[in-house]
């Protein structure tokens, strides 16, 4: 087992390093350098070539590409993420503010989508082939076909503007004191985000449940004369949902990526919102750091999944090479 984990780590770190290099190099290729983004058009007219050069010198931009990458990498490893070009705020500060907001939103959405998805999936497996099953399948496909931001807009129009039950967007207001004050703000974005995930969870739960229902211990339970609801709930449900829940838990990275547009629609001050703002403003240091953070999350999650699967199923680590 230890060898397997070490093997995986030997893939993990070079991968992260290679991606950071590619992203750094890619942003290097984009037109203009940091200095040209700092100078306003009015200033550009009055500034001399020497002054420009001096600025480049001051920011270390005239060093070679590899040197700069090395400086950036070493300070990154030490926890210094550098500064955003918009306003010169430390990136670590921005991250500390936005990451919890995104996590909060994603976890709530994950919670909703798991509960709704699993119960609907099990229901549709139990009533296989019925009208309920068919309409749930169609509804699931509709769930992945409607653009989530369009769904979000309709939800805003309906529940925030027309009915005025919930706020239009945002996360915190100065007047908020308790947790209860914040709940109305998270309901809409998390439910809309959950919709995106529910369809997937439903499909997994359905096929897993169908799988279990065909097993022999279910037949045994039935032949003992156990009532049908006990067979389904105690025997089928419990066995079927374990793999589903494990799998859904690790779809968190997907959810964090998927929340990007929803955060924009609801003006949720999360990492996705910040990422879009930095892409719009060509704030390259921020774009780079945030995208690498996403990569880190995805790679870590897949590492954990691999290790867990190997723990559960010995064939994975033994059969490998």
């Amino acid at each position: 087992m230890t060898t397997y984990i070490i093997q995986r780590l030997f893939i993990f770190f070079p991968m992260l390093l290679a991606i950071s290099f590619l992203v750094y190099g890619g942003l290097e290729l984009s037109p203009g350098d940091a200095v040209s983004h700092m100078i306003s058009p009015e200033l550009a007219l009055s500034i001399t070539a020497e002054q420009l050069e001096a600025m480049r010198e001051a920011y270390g931009l005239n060093k070679s590409f590899l040197t700069r990458y090395w400086i950036w990498l070493t300070s990154m490893v030490q926890g210094d993420m550098g500064y955003s070009m918009a306003g010169g705020v430390a990136i670590s500060e921005i991250m500390a503010k936005t990451v919890p907001a995104t996590l909060e939103l994603s976890l709530v959405a994950l919670f909703f989508s798991t509960i709704i998805g699993c119960s609907l999936g099990v229901l549709s497996a139990l009533k296989r082939g019925s009208a309920t099953d068919n309409s749930l399948t169609v509804a699931g496909m509709a769930g992945v076909s409607i653009p989530e931001f369009f769904f979000g807009l309709v939800a805003i129009l309906l529940f925030a503007i027309e009915l005025q039950w919930l706020p239009v967007g945002g996360r915190l207001l100065p007047s908020y004191e308790t947790v209860w004050d914040r709940i109305p703000n998270i309901v809409l974005p998390s439910l809309v985000l959950a919709l995106m995930m529910t369809a997937g969870a439903m499909r997994y739960a359905r096929s897993s449940m169908l799988d279990v229902l065909a097993r022999e211990f279910i037949t045994t339970a039935r032949s003992k004369g156990m009532p049908e609801w006990r067979v389904n709930l105690l025997h089928g449900f419990r066995v079927a949902l374990t793999p589903v829940v494990v799998l859904i838990g690790f779809r968190l990275p997907l959810l964090i990526g998927g929340s990007t547009i929803i955060e924009q629609v609801y003006q949720w001050p999360g990492i996705g919102n910040m990422f879009i703002r930095s892409v719009r403003g060509s704030d390259y240091p921020l774009v780079m750091t945030i995208s690498l953070m996403y990569v880190f999350v995805v790679l870590t999650a897949s590492l954990i999944i691999d290790v867990l699967t190997a723990l559960i199923d010995p064939r994975v680590r033994l059969g490998k090479e």
């Binding site: 290729l29 076909s145 653009p147 239009v168 990526g257 547009i261 774009v287 790679l299």
Partner: protein
């Protein structure tokens, strides 16, 4: 004994071949199965209608989607303007039709091109193995380490916005999935006896993998192309909604929806964003129905 029963079998096959019930049998089974899937047929019909409506946009709508008409700003739907007009008096119905051209082109085009790249690499790498396979696998893993939307946004920030860039980005982000699919199919087909037979005849690698093996991997690939068309159309819509996709002067479904970011428009002028949102949803749903129908009708494990 065994010999005579074998002879009998061959006789039967020969008889069926002579009656011509043999060669058309497989195709008709797939088509029949697809046609029996009600949702897939409905999907195909609506899909065709929307595609044709976009192609024949000039016939269906007398308006120019780009022409600003300040005398007819923000008009609700009427007989003249079926979906009303937007803030600069452009006819929304015409914009939805012309926008469909671009959006469908981007979706379908990127899906097909990324499939071509993914298959070209995947077939060869999966069949040959070796260092090409190792490199291609690692490269595809790099692309798959990003959440899809984040990678697209990152590449948009590197390359800048244009229609061409967007399609290139979609291909770059999309080929990996197809590559893995093609590669996995090739890995299992590689061990089949007919492939070994072809190799022993001395056929070239290219002929074996693209001419003889690829057709056997085609049905999951077709399904995948359909599903990724749906995904690309949704991604384009999302990006353009954010103002980071296709430049705003080109009408696409996402660009039309872009105005809904303004809460005043969201509240007061539903026709500027509602119909187009429904068109996108219906179109993508139809594409997904078609994909699902294709999977059901071509997947041998589901054939009775």
């Amino acid at each position: 004994m065994a010999n005579s029963s074998l002879n009998r079998k061959f006789d039967q096959i020969k008889k069926r071949e002579e009656e011509k019930t043999f060669s058309t049998n497989k195709r008709s089974r797939i088509v029949n199965k697809f046609l029996n899937n009600r949702l897939a047929v409905i999907g195909l019909i609506i899909f065709t209608i929307i595609v044709l409506a976009s192609i024949f946009a000039p016939i269906l709508s007398p308006y120019d989607p780009m022409r600003v008409d300040l005398r007819s700003m923000r008009q609700p739907p009427s007989f003249d303007h079926w979906f009303g007009t937007d803030s600069t008096g452009r006819d929304v119905f015409a914009r939805v039709l012309y926008g469909g051209r671009v959006s469908i082109f981007i979706g379908l085009g990127s899906a097909i091109l990324s499939a071509v790249v993914g298959i070209a690499v995947g077939c060869y790498a999966g069949y040959k193995g070796g260092w090409i396979d190792v490199i291609a696998l690692r490269v595809s893993e790099i692309f798959m380490s990003f959440p899809q939307i984040i990678l697209v946004l990152l590449l948009v920030s590197i390359t800048g916005q244009s229609l061409f860039n967007l399609m290139a980005i979609f291909i770059v982000t999309g080929w990996g999935g197809m590559y893995r699919l093609a590669r996995a199919r090739m890995l299992s087909l590689r061990e089949e006896e007919y492939v070994q037979a072809l190799r022993s005849f001395g056929l070239s690698t290219f002929t074996i993998c693209y001419k003889h093996m690829l057709p056997n991997a085609l049905s999951p690939i077709m399904v995948n192309i359909t599903l990724s068309t749906a995904m690309f159309i949704l991604t384009e819509a999302g990006l353009s909604f954010l103002g980071l996709g296709v430049p705003l002067n080109i009408p696409t479904w996402g660009n039309i929806l872009n105005v809904a970011q303004d809460i005043l428009i969201l509240q007061n002028y539903w026709w500027m964003w509602g119909p187009v949102g429904i068109v996108i949803s219906v179109f993508v749903l139809c594409v997904n129905f078609i994909g699902d129908g294709l999977r059901d009708s071509t997947d041998p494990s589901q054939q009775g």
